[in-house]
């Protein structure tokens, strides 16, 4: 019975993947892709990975979807010829086909090999969980055992925002806020905003004991910001470059500082003192949540200004 569900999910997944890549209309393509994100989060549930399911729904389907749709609206003006799928005369088609089948064959062979992992890393996680300061293993891995990865990953996020800033049109003229002039929307979102904020903080708090954490919370926060922006509430803060940048690095700064203090005490980088590990992790996560929310929101905001074309840019 369970396998039937799994197989159905896989079929839907692959079907949606095919559709999202090979539909004629780009709009549908994006829609199928968002749908695929939702199905994926079901798949993650089936894989006993609720954390990833949350993240996939919030980040993968949510934020990526918003960004894609927003981009789509601005790409309308481009010369868009629908793809001709069976270009049998094009070497590119055959190259793609060859690579695709090659990848499937190679991976399929590799996956079908029976496995017996030599190192029992999962046991090591549960053995050391008590010392990590949190009880949820994934948070322990992300913010303690492998916190160095997370540190670099936050840097990656800041970088993405920075590229968006680089391509911003000009420093003087912030983009006009094209919000929806709908009264009902306005009213409802005012109601929703605190609730979304609350959910975000709850996800952050829950992260130390159960699925949740900074990234999911940050993504939810970002969606709150985006809604905030869409109804035309105050976003002047986001137009000021200094606030933008300082908001991005807030989390990273806390992370680096907390990580660097042990160096002065003769400990390796990113070591938390045993007694305060939980508090420190929560502190870092709080910083990260705010920064991630802010970064994802600025990506949305800045990518809008990347699309506008001004006369002074003509070469």
């Amino acid at each position: 019975m369970n396998e039937l569900i799994d197989l159905t999910l896989i079929c839907i997944l692959l079907g949606l993947a095919t559709l999202s890549l090979f539909t004629q209309s780009l709009f549908r393509s994006v829609m199928f892709f968002i749908l695929l994100g939702l199905i994926l989060s079901l798949v993650w549930i089936r894989l006993d990975a609720p954390d990833i399911a949350l993240a996939e729904a919030a980040i993968g389907a949510g934020i990526t979807g918003i960004l894609l749709l927003d981009a789509l609206a601005h790409l309308r003006a481009t010369s868009n010829t629908p793809p001709q799928l069976l270009q049998l005369k094009q070497p590119r088609f055959w190259l793609a086909l060859l690579s695709g089948t090659g990848v499937i064959l190679a991976l399929g062979l590799a996956v079908s090999e029976p496995l017996s992992p030599v190192v029992a890393l999962d046991l090591k996680v549960s053995e050391n969980l008590a010392e990590s300061g949190v009880t949820h293993p994934i948070t322990a891995i992300l913010l303690n055992f492998r916190s160095y990865d997370t540190l670099l990953e936050v840097a990656v996020l800041v970088l993405a925002a920075l590229v968006a800033l680089t391509l911003r049109q000009s420093d003087e003229h912030p983009v006009a806020n094209e919000f929806l002039p709908n009264q009902l929307l306005h009213a409802c979102l005012k109601l929703f905003f605190p609730m979304i904020f609350l959910v975000s903080m709850y996800l952050l708090w829950a992260g130390s004991t159960q699925p949740g954490g900074a990234f999911q919370a940050g993504a939810v926060l970002a969606s709150a910001f985006v809604l905030f922006y869409l109804v035309g509430l105050k976003t002047q803060l986001a137009q000021n470059e200094h606030y933008l940048k300082r908001g991005w690095i807030f989390g990273l700064a806390i992370f680096v500082l907390v990580g660097a203090v042990p160096l002065l005490q003769g400990q390796p980088f990113l070591t938390y003192p045993d007694a305060h590990a939980g508090v420190l992790i929560l502190l870092i996560e709080l910083g990260l949540t705010l920064s991630i929310g802010w970064i994802l929101f600025s990506l949305f905001l800045l990518s809008q200004s990347a699309s506008t074309f001004q006369k002074k840019d003509t070469p």
Binding site: Q24, S25, L26, F27, R28, N80, P82, L180, N182, L184, L185, C188, L191, F192, M195
Partner: protein, 111 residues
């Protein structure tokens, strides 16, 4: 096989049925406005029935309240989005369809 289980099953099945009807409406109805109608109404009711069915099975009041909260939020959200879609369709002057007439599918993005 007590009464509770029978009630639960009934609620679940009718909830699922509601979803099916809503989806059928989405496919069969001729224009944007009627489709929204099918989607939002049926979904709210269907979700409500399912939430009710689940509440019957729960001991903790907090959890039950959470489920109800979800239902409430979804209702507000679907009402709002239904309103927005209809409003936007109206802004774009998409006409209502007369019975028997079918709207050209929403293919505006297909150049």
């Amino acid at each position: 096989m007590n009464l509770l289980v029978i009630l639960q099953s009934f609620l679940l099945i009718s909830g699922a049925l509601m979803f099916c009807i809503g989806s059928l409406g989405l496919i069969r109805f001729p224009d944007t406005y009627t489709r929204i109608h099918a989607l939002t109404k049926a979904d709210n009711l269907g979700l409500g029935l399912i939430v009710l069915a689940l509440i019957l099975n729960i001991e903790s009041v907090a959890l039950a309240l959470k489920l109800l909260l979800i239902w409430g939020l979804v209702m507000i959200a679907s009402a709002l989005s239904g309103h927005l879609v209809a409003w936007e369709a109206d802004e774009q002057c998409i006409p209502l369809c007369q019975p028997g007439e079918t709207e050209p599918h929403l293919e505006s993005e297909n150049e």
